[in-house]
Amino acid sequence: MASQEMEQLVRREYKEGFVTDIESDTVPPGLDESTIAFISNKKGEPEWMLEWRLKAYHQWLKMTSPSWAHLDYPPIDYQAISYYSAPKREEDKPQSLDEVDPKLLETYEKLGIPLHERAALAGVAVDAVFDSVSVTTTFKEKLHEAGVIFCSISEAIRDYPELVKQYLGSVVPQGDNYFAALNSAVFTDGSFVFVPEGVTCPMELSTYFRINAANTGQFERTLIICESRAQVSYLEGCTAPQRDENQLHAAVVELVALEDAYIKYSTVQNWYPGDEDGKGGIYNFVTKRGDCRGDRSRISWTQVETGSAITWKYPSCVLRGKHSIGEFYSVAVTNGRQQADTGTKMIHIGEGTRSSIISKGISAGRSNQSYRGLVKVGPRAKGARNFTQCDSLLIGDTCGAHTFPYQEIGNSTATVEHEATTSKIGEDQLFYCQSRGISEEDAVSMIVNGFCKDVFQELPMEFAVEAEALLNVTLEGAVG
């Protein structure tokens, strides 16, 4: 085996590792009621929002950090984190791209974000989030014509308070879990999408998150609502610059699908995973949940997870409406000293609900990866159906792959299936490819891509290409 190549790979510098030097308007580290008041004030929020945040904060104080995950990390000092950071000139927001700080644009350039004409070519509306304040939103008009609201959550709180009041926290309540409570108290930005009845969103919506400014936790809050017969596809992609100190990210994503609505939420996550000793990577504690509130609604989660030192993430579906559908497609790749504890929850409440879970985990280096999932079928979910498949691929003998699926079934008409396999890349598979003149490296890449195919084909076109490239970069040379 080409251990040298492996070494090379492990030592590979983080490609997206660069820091943009922009003065940030940052509050001193620490969290108390005044920090929350500061954030709320900064955002120009109404009184009820501040109260909502404080309620979450008080619940958070009573909670303890979860310890059940198969993760190992030092305790997080929440008083050492700065909870607000925004690009300096917040008051006079740029009106067009020309006014945007050139350094910021440069950052986007490096990341390859299609903000300029590329945005038009790619047909993607970008609500780019730089640190905590959204800088610019494109294609608003086109969306406006269709009646779709796509803006930052701060704007939504200001412009559409009734909608926000009605839906915020209705899927992930303030006290849902430790990290969700923290997020509810201090979230600074995120996206808001509202697709009215009968409207199919004319384009794929996309947000690029980017963590900058040392020591700043990123607390995003995303809320997507699809009314009856509405449809939307939402893309989320992340990269982060290289840092020495661990950065905390605790996001909350809430999806609400009413009757016959369809929400597709795709993520490519490539945050800084830390150096070869696992130092400096992002801590990613995310609560994502979709609520299939209406009959025949459908929510689909697709994720490609290649980054972060710690990933704690369980995109879930609450299948409340009759015959609603929940889907989860995931590829998670860990290398170096990365740790990932990820999976999904499918809660079947309504009659005839269906869910499918396809999870592919690839572990290499000294990483550890766990699939943790729950399929729960309530007594009223007659004829509920679930299929779960989670496969793990191990590359090298120092990594770990674990599966912890929970099934709680309380209905005799439910059919629930789960299967999992763990294996390595077969010598014979490699040999077969090599005997046909394919290099070992390419053969591994082919096999791994084939392993993930079921998930990649669920991704929107632009993401699928990016995901495959990401996977190749992450695993290049991991097998010799």
Binding site: W68, D397, A401, S412, T413, H418, E419
Partner: protein, 456 residues
């Protein structure tokens, strides 16, 4: 909180009373036993009874045990007629315990082959307590669970089986635990120790059964040590009365090329929790876990299994099937752990459940924890109902729906039972399952009809 405290204290008080009585009757115990008892009591006091907040007890509520006021039985009186009815009709070496107390009258210990020792724990301790002291508690320490700690604090009776190298015990060994209906519910904390030296072979049947009205609590700890090439087939036939509470842990240690085959057949008991753990410590060691559980009424059956692959080239194979009716609650938690550098492992796990009622519940959690790359591990679990097409296929052949469903359910259980080597047990369980089916499926009647038809 005070409630929980008092539950723990009640058990500790029983322990105190009992220890005082024993000291008076038998004088001081060997120091190692006293020390372990103390450690067990201290650990139990510190842990308290598990709650549903503990991951390992997430689906099993033991308040029924914690709140109970159980006495320790002092004699082994049991109606011989009832005992005869309950006893397995198998020619075997037999040790019988009534509410945990050894019953010599119901035991047969003669004609054991040379090299085999089978004695009640109390006698083993009397004869040579040091020989027992070494292995006892090595696999299942007081840290394992509050129940293991409690067992250690109370332990004084049980069974010790020792086989010298190459000894083959032809007849099965039955460890029979009878539960007696009495004025006050009783508790027992039996301890079983099986030590099998190189290339020895045995079949052990652990049989839990009792009088219908009994409502006792059994807290069993079992340690099995298999040396090189030893082969043990281990049956746990649970036919305890429906109000009985049963918690047990079986911890197996396997050396090179040893083979452990378990049949965990669970039909009775109100609350049954079994932990089955094997340590595959030597190359070529193999563990087979077969399980069948049938729950009805308000029965609660919890099976936890764990295969620790500590050495390369070890194999584990698991197949558990559950049938749940009425308001029964089943739990299956199977785990396969492959340690670092334990290459060339094969670990397979399969769990299938059939729910016959809308109020029945199954919680399944098949886990894999793998730290080596050259392994073949898989697990699958399904929960569902009978295949309607299969039911239809039978009906097109003139079989009425109820019979068709009964036959298919039996066939579902049959996949485990066909692995059972002892016909007497397979038949007994099959008949019991047939008798439990909602249609009160008359298997015996069907067999007779079939026989009559073939005679014609």
């Amino acid at each position: 909180m005070s409630d929980v405290q008092s539950d723990v204290q009640r058990f500790l008080e029983r322990l105190g009373e009992h220890a005082a009585g024993r000291a008076e009757a038998q004088g001081p115990e060997p120091t190692w036993i006293a020390a372990r008892r103390q450690a067990g009591a201290a650990r139990f006091e510190a842990l308290g009874f598990p709650t549903r907040r503990d991951e390992a007890w997430k689906y099993t509520d033991v308040r029924g045990i914690a709140r109970g006021d159980f006495q320790l039985a002092t004699n082994a009186d049991f109606s011989p007629a009832t005992a005869a009815r309950l006893t397995l009709p198998i020619e075997a070496h037999r040790l019988t315990f009534v509410d945990g107390v050894f019953a010599p009258a119901l035991s047969t210990l003669d004609d054991l082959p040379a090299g085999a020792q089978l004695v009640p724990l109390s006698r083993a301790l009397e004869e040579n307590h040091e020989a027992v002291g070494g292995p006892l508690g090595r696999l299942t320490g007081v840290e394992f669970s509050p129940f293991a700690a409690l067992n250690t604090a109370f332990m004084e009776e049980g069974a010790v089986l020792r086989l010298a190298p190459g000894t083959v015990v032809e007849k099965p060994i039955i460890l029979q635990f009878l539960s007696r209906a009495g004025e006050a519910p009783a508790m027992s904390h039996p301890r079983i120790l099986i030590e099998m030296a190189g290339r020895s072979q045995a079949t052990v049947i652990e049989h839990h059964v009792g009088e219908e009205q009994a409502a006792n609590f059994t807290n069993l700890v079992e340690e099995v040590i298999l040396d090189r090439g030893a082969i043990l087939t281990h049956y746990k036939l649970q036919e305890a009365p429906l109000a009985d509470l049963h918690v047990s842990s079986i911890h197996v240690e396997q050396a090179r090329d040893s083979r452990y085959t378990s049949f965990n057949l669970n039909l009775g008991g109100g609350l049954v929790r079994t932990d089955l753990i094997t340590e595959l410590n030597g190359e070529g060691a193999e563990a087979n876990f077969n399980g069948l559980f049938y729950g009805q009424g308000r029965q609660h059956v919890d099976n936890h299994t764990l295969a620790n692959h500590n050495a390369p080239l070890t194999f584990s194979n698991e197949n558990y099937k559950g049938i749940l009716d009425d308001r029964a609650h089943g739990v299956f938690n199977g785990k396969v752990v492959v340690k670092r550098d334990s290459q060339k492992i094969e670990g397979f796990q399969s769990n299938a459940n059939l729910l016959l009622s809308d109020r029945a519940e199954i919680d399944a959690k098949p886990e894999l924890e793998i730290y080596a790359d050259d392994v073949k591990c898989s697990h699958g679990t399904t929960t569902g109902q009978l295949d309607e097409e299969a039911v239809f296929a039978l009906r097109t052949r003139g079989i009425d729906e109820q019979t068709a469903r009964g036959l298919l359910t039996l066939a579902f259980a049959g996949e485990v039972l066909e692995q059972v080597g002892l016909d007497a047990i397979a038949e007994r369980v099959e008949l019991a399952v047939a008798g439990k089916l909602p249609e009160r499926f008359n298997l015996a009647g069907l067999v007779e009809t079939a026989a009559a038809l073939s005679e014609e």
